[in-house]
């Protein structure tokens, strides 16, 4: 229990509580359940993408192409719906996940088989995927009136007071908890990031594990692509522009080490929620949204400084008497 209180997750939880208390002191409406549910729903795409990014970063990689993947998948889904309104939502969901997974797999193969640094690969595919949206859409928008009610209604479909979008984020988070805690793949992500050399000797294929992380991240980006376009009832070239940095920021604030192999799912979720609350609260307290970037940036630097400090103090224990108490 004391270990938990000292953990990154507890500190983030405390920071979120303080943040909410500060806002509530002036704008009590912000912390009403209905508004908190709205904030959570609004943060759901960030949570889903940050979870996918988490496994990528755990394996010492990074996926900068998630926002472009999201936008391309979203455009394809919207154009399909506009052209063939009869295609059921289930089929579109399947298409979105599959398309995203293929784009993630392209990243993964280049990292695995060609040994290109992940930052270079995903910087490249980020631009390519974004460019493809222009190619297929000719730069035109797909607007609300071209979309079918079933298409735009799905993410807003209400179950027990929460929209489908929020439930999907909760479902993805639950799947991640199980995957990380209870599957060999989840364990492999940590082993590969923590000590790639040892992982090889243990019979774990490092490249294949990184490939799997990219596929997961891509599939979730694709899924979010449809949800995003449907929720805002619009698709165009620049949607979610720069969102990949917010996704990486959520992971880093949540305590996922950029060096790989360290961090938790709960941390990522809290990191995403922290950013989501800041983003939603600023207009309420009448601070320019431009401050949001400065606040996110400060949070990232504080979080990384915190990571560096905590990993520095974790040196080798030389004193025999200190062993076992660590």
């Amino acid at each position: 229990m004391t270990a938990f209180l000292k953990s990154r997750e507890a500190i983030l939880l405390g920071a979120i509580a303080v943040l909410l208390a500060l806002i509530a002191s002036r704008f009590p409406a912000f912390v009403e359940p209905s508004n908190l549910a709205r904030v959570f729903t609004d943060t759901s795409p960030l949570i889903i993408l940050a979870l996918g990014q988490t496994v990528v970063i755990l394996t010492r990689c990074i996926d900068l192409s998630v926002a472009a993947n999201l936008a391309l998948t979203g455009m394809v889904c919207a154009m399909l719906n506009a052209a063939m309104p009869g295609v059921p939502v289930a089929a579109i969901l399947l298409l979105a996940v599959a398309m995203g997974a293929v784009m993630g797999a392209i990243n993964g193969v280049m990292v695995w088989k060609l040994s290109i640094p992940p930052i270079v690969v995903t910087l490249g595919t980020m631009t390519i995927y974004r460019g493809l949206i222009f190619v297929i859409s000719d730069g035109a928008w797909v607007n609300a009136h071209e979309m079918s009610p079933a298409f735009t209604g799905f993410p807003r479909f209400d179950i027990l007071g929460l929209p489908m979008l929020a439930w999907i984020a909760i479902l993805v988070a639950a799947l991640f908890f199980v995957m990380i805690a209870r599957t060999p793949l989840g364990r492999a992500f940590y082993a590969v990031g923590g000590n790639p050399g040892a992982a090889v000797y243990t019979g774990i294929d490092v490249g294949r594990t990184q490939f799997m992380a990219f596929v997961i991240s891509g599939a979730l980006a694709g899924l979010t692509g449809y949800l995003w376009v449907a929720r805002y009832s619009v698709a165009y070239v620049d949607i979610a522009g720069g969102f990949e940095l917010e996704v990486v920021a959520a992971c880093v604030i949540g305590g996922i080490s950029i060096a790989g192999g360290a961090g938790t799912i709960l941390g990522t979720i809290l990191g995403a929620l922290f950013l989501g609350i800041v983003k939603n609260a600023l207009p309420v307290v009448n601070i320019s949204p431009f401050w949001q970037m400065a606040i996110s940036g400060t949070a990232i630097i504080v979080a990384v400084a915190f990571n560096a400090r905590s990993s520095r103090s974790k040196g080798r224990i030389i004193l025999k008497s200190a062993e076992g108490h660590a």
Binding site: R187, N195, G197, A199, Y201, T202, D205, E323, A326
Partner: protein, 512 residues
């Protein structure tokens, strides 16, 4: 040897010259280990002093002391008879001491000239680097050592021998009076070695004092004038090379009282488990053949770089051999990856615990079960209770001391980390276990536990391969020993043939 000497540099020193550098009573302790115990060492101008000793005798520690990387706990360093201290590497460089290391410590992305002058670049009057002067002076120095290298060439385009030349040029650029060469020929070809010897003669002729560290007896007797022998961190002898023979030098190196107690090895050796024949690798080893039986401990001895670990890595599927066959229980098996090896019942506890052993950041139990997840999971889901049970079983057998199995392995001592790695492999229930330097860098108490456990493993019918560079350990633990030299099997020894002298002779390639 034909060396054209520039007469202005030739200052052959008389045999009774005063030492340029003299170390006396140097003691260096690390937590739990006395690396050096009141050792002395003298280096004379124009002479090559060979520093001889087994692995762990304290040779690297004395080099680090001389170059200002480590500070001794006690003792004096006299330079030209005056006491000096080297609180930093820069102080040692300023005093004219320079080292050429086994693996050169140079900068791959910089040019030859930049490497030679890094830290003391010629400057223009505005304080900027004077590239023209740097190139000209680099050219001069390279010419002096007959090195046909372009000063503007990036270092990474050079081979290891040329990099040594750059390191030597660097030594000359600071006008070093003492040049330390730490196994400089370890990675060189025959021709390159000859060129290096010529260079050493040239440095001698220029009156520089040279400390030459080598395991190769032929080269010690060829180029050294004096010898100093360290054993277990102590100075055990010194003198003129002309007054000693190989046998006496070997005796000084290994002649120790065996102060470690090894468990009795009464192994009931059973059927053949592993047979390796004609195993070859394009660059690392050739024609390695041996067999291993149930309940046997087979030692692999050799100098560092003899190819022992490389053979083991190939057996474990980390690298791919070009030729050869592995049979387990008489059936030919193909091993293409570590998971194939684990399936075939071979496991490997690597030498580099840090890089290849434990995953720091994961708790103990997750480290132990990493290769056994297929057994501890059902329908693709991990079962933590099974994992804890498996971990508890094997860590208890190894007497692992930890507060909880949930604890991060990074918080354990080296010895306990080693136990976690061994437990990890035992949990896969192997037929053959390969232990690469199993006790390197761990304290005496943990060593004894590992030795006892190794004997127990053999007694339970496991076939054990132990790669070790520590002679007492090889002699104390092995039923049979294979000595490797330069990628080949030099000898297979057992029974009365197993003595410290025979091991060293075969490993160093001294005719019996």
């Amino acid at each position: 040897m034909q060396v054209s000497l520039d007469p202005s540099h030739a200052r052959p020193a008389p045999a009774d010259a005063a030492p340029v550098l003299h170390l006396d009573g140097i003691t260096k302790t690390f937590p739990g280990v006395k690396a050096l115990s009141e050792v002395s060492l003298s280096l004379y101008p124009g002479q090559v002093t060979a520093l001889v000793g087994e692995n762990g005798a304290g040779k690297s520690t004395i080099v680090k002391t001389l170059t200002g990387i480590l500070q001794p706990n006690a003792g004096t360093i006299l330079l030209d008879g005056a006491p000096v201290t080297f609180p930093t590497a820069q102080h040692a460089t300023d005093a004219g001491i320079t080292a050429i290391h086994q693996e050169t410590v140079l900068f791959d992305e910089l040019t030859v000239a930049e490497n030679i002058f890094i830290g003391h670049q010629p400057r223009t009057r505005f304080g900027l680097i004077d590239w023209a002067a740097m190139r000209t002076r680099a050219r001069e120095i390279l010419d002096r050592i007959d090195a046909d290298l372009d000063p503007d060439m990036p270092l990474h385009e050079l081979g290891i021998a040329s990099k040594h030349l750059v390191a030597i040029a660097r030594a000359l650029s600071v006008d070093a009076r003492v040049v330390i060469m730490d196994e400089p020929t370890a990675a060189l070809s025959h021709k390159e070695i000859e060129e290096l010897y010529e260079l050493v003669e040239r440095l001698k002729a220029e009156g520089r004092a040279i400390l030459f560290i080598s395991h190769k007896f032929d080269e010690i007797f060829r180029i050294a004038d004096r010898y100093t022998v360290f054993r277990d961190g102590q100075h055990v002898g010194e003198g003129l090379i002309a007054e000693i023979d190989e046998g006496e030098l070997v005796r000084l190196m290994v002649g120790r009282s065996v102060d470690q107690i090894f468990p009795p090895c009464e192994h009931l050796v059973g059927d053949e488990v592993l047979s390796v024949s004609g195993y070859s690798h394009p660059t690392e080893f050739q024609d390695v053949s041996f067999n291993l039986r149930k309940g046997e401990i087979l030692g692999f001895y050799g100098l560092v770089g003899a190819g022992r670990s490389e053979v083991m890595q190939a057996l474990f599927g980390v690298t791919k051999p070009s030729r050869g066959e592995i049979r387990i229980d008489g059936t030919a098996r193909e091993i293409r990856s570590p998971s194939d090896a684990v399936d075939a019942g071979i496991v490997y506890v690597p030498e580099e615990r840090g890089r290849q052993g434990a995953v720091i950041g994961l708790p103990i139990f997750q480290n132990v079960t990493l290769p056994s997840l297929a057994q501890t999971s059902r329908k693709g889901f991990l079962r933590l209770s099974e994992e804890f049970a498996l971990t508890r079983e094997y860590t208890e057998r190894l007497d692992l001391r930890a507060a909880s199995l949930d604890q991060d392995v990074g918080n354990l001592s080296g010895g306990n980390q080693q136990k976690v790695v061994i437990a990890k492999w035992l949990a896969t229930k192997p037929r053959v276990i390969i232990l690469d330097e199993p006790t390197k860098g761990i304290d005496i108490g943990s060593k004894a536990a590992v030795h006892a456990f190794m004997a127990e493993l053999a007694a339970q019918g496991l076939a054990v391969i132990m790669v070790s560079s520590e002679i007492p350990e090889v002699l104390g633990m092995s039923d049979r020993v294979i000595v490797m030299r330069e990628g080949l099997i030099a000898a297979e020894l057992a029974g009365d043939d197993l003595t410290p002298e025979t091991l060293v002779r075969h490993a160093a390639g001294i005719g019996a």
